[in-house]
Subunit: 349 residues, 2 copies
């Protein structure tokens, strides 16, 4: 009873109602299936008259080509995936936007998802995107082991990691110069006379945090300053703990006169704490943020160019897809010190 079979089948898959297909269009226009395909894809070899008839049928039925079928047949999806940490974080907005812009220029759509800083979720997402057969993948790593992507990469999925390096596999990576930027920022404070400089940053297991810490240490060492343990606060990002950490550094027998903060969230909280503080304390933060110039004093920052990170990564991705590249590369983009006042305050004891 094929009739029944068909009906059941239809029902199971009928989330769309029944959309017209090329076959329907062909029937209505009184032409062959392939002719419709030709018209839809602008292929040559169709008389203007035939084309008109087909176009009419398309409009009348509200036909829209089913790209799933097309993808299945052609093998390419013209879409790329973006796995990022948190879309709500203002740092990733411009990055994501830049990736999308490049994708668009290459006629591709962007599918994205947030890992919420959870390695398992990152993997789940990345693999889901691969199952969709995205042509390529831009990943902002949450975890530090990406071997799970090996079969995908081998199968031809272009892959670029951004902001943090890939773990345990050889792949393209686009990073900011976290080490150099932090070093410059801290050196800037030292140049303005500070010697007791605090560092508040994320857990060193996060690559960017580790690099920035390394930059801090290097700048201090360059200046011949020995760093006291009490000046460093690692693995601290939530406002309450940042607050406590900053307050501890500022009190005690040997209080810091300046603080270097490891990312924008920490910077903002630190600035809040310092605003309540009696003595002015110098601050340089890693990451720029909106309105940093409007605060009193303006906040001096080491800025990374999020859009450039995204753009560079996406362009690299499409070059992979075009078959241009062979050897994975590590690209480091420079940071920029923006002086606004808070980093130029002299030490006050």
């Amino acid at each position: 009873m094929p009739e029944t079979a068909r009906r059941t089948d239809r029902l199971a898959g009928s989330r769309y109602g029944n959309r017209p297909t090329m076959k329907d269009v062909a029937a209505r226009a009184g032409v062959g299936l392939k002719t419709v395909s030709r018209v839809v894809n602008g292929e040559p070899g169709v008389t203007p008259e035939t084309e008109r008839r087909v176009q009419e049928a398309i409009d009348a039925l509200g036909f829209r080509r089913n790209d799933s079928a097309r993808v299945l047949r052609k093998g390419r999806t013209a879409s790329i995936g973006l796995v990022l940490e948190d879309l709500a974080d203002p740092f990733y907005g411009p990055l994501s936007r830049a990736v999308e812009e490049v994708a668009r220029a290459h006629g591709a759509l962007l599918i994205n998802g947030s890992s919420a800083e959870d390695p398992d979720r990152e993997q789940e997402l990345a693999l889901a995107l691969c199952a969709r057969r995205v042509d390529g993948l831009v990943v902002i790593p949450a975890g530090d082991d990406h071997r799970y992507l090996e079969p995908e990469i081998k199968a031809g999925v272009a892959t670029v990691f951004v902001d943090r390096p890939a773990g345990k596999i050889d792949a393209d990576v686009v990073l900011s110069d976290n080490y150099g930027g932090a070093r410059d920022g801290v050196a800037h404070l030292i140049a303005h006379g500070h010697r007791r400089i605090g560092f508040v940053g994320d857990m060193p297991r996060i690559h960017t945090a580790a690099e920035r810490l390394r930059g801090y240490r290097a700048a201090m060492e360059d200046a011949g300053i020995e760093v006291a343990d009490a000046w460093m606060s690692l693995g601290v990002t939530d406002p309450q703990r940042v607050r406590r950490a900053a307050e501890e550094m500022l009190s005690g027998p040997d209080p810091v006169t300046a603080i270097f903060t490891g990312n924008n969230r920490v910077t903002v909280t630190a600035v809040r704490v310092l605003a309540e503080h009696k003595r002015p304390v110098a601050v340089v933060g890693f990451d720029d943020f909106e309105l940093a110039d409007l605060l009193q004093p303006g906040v001096t920052v080491v800025a990374q160019d999020a859009a450039a990170l995204g753009r560079t990564a996406a362009e690299r991705l499409f070059r992979q897809l075009d078959g241009d590249l062979i050897t994975p590369e590590r690209i480091e983009l420079p940071t920029r010190l923006i002086t606004r006042g808070s980093g130029e305050l002299p030490p006050r004891d």
Copy 2:
């Protein structure tokens, strides 16, 4: 010569190298195709022993189910589309994130794109998403005519508009209470003694801008204040022109003592201008923004809940998909006045 045909065909679609298929897995495991499908989908009716063999073959070959084919067969993509204005705008980050969160809870992926405020691009994007057969669409309108979506909606694509209403079609809409919020904000200024209150906002052809302007007028009228044309500046968003507009209102024979700003970009620029101004001028802005509390004085705002907008829209979308709903609805979410100082300054002439 079918051999040749096959080879050419392969080449055309071989962006992925040749990924293993269920057929390959079946061959390697020595079972039938459908058995592999059963294992992959966790369907019952497979002996543990068989399952083990299949799983082994899957791992060995690095097989990953091709969701394109799956989609084609099943009719659902388990993905939804989001068309927004600009991912780099901090307002849309939390909104997008909220949509994604709901999608994830329903096992769906999120595909998104930015319209860059261009109606043509919005349409192009929305239709591209429909061609991918997304199950549903969340649209932040750039244009004001959405009849192009009618065939899609009729075909069963769930659709919800957010932040601005749909144009010329009947559909679900989730909005902030722009009118009420603006009215409250302006009333707040009036309550603090202001009578000459300026308004700087976007072009009234944008729905939100028009509603906020309407709220401004209503509050003024309620207080029996006649609004002078010179107090209103419409269609002004780029920093330079906002600057000029604000300066004009503040000079002249009858300067305003307070300004109500129509969105966060305008607010920020206005605050910049006022920071340079000699006399303190009160400000209330529509839209909250990060660090508004840290400025001197803190900026009083009418806050909308971007995340709630996204969440509400997405939930509505999935209820449509579950077939719960029939009649399109217009949902308005309340705004919240957050007082921080700038809106409580008394008038000074």
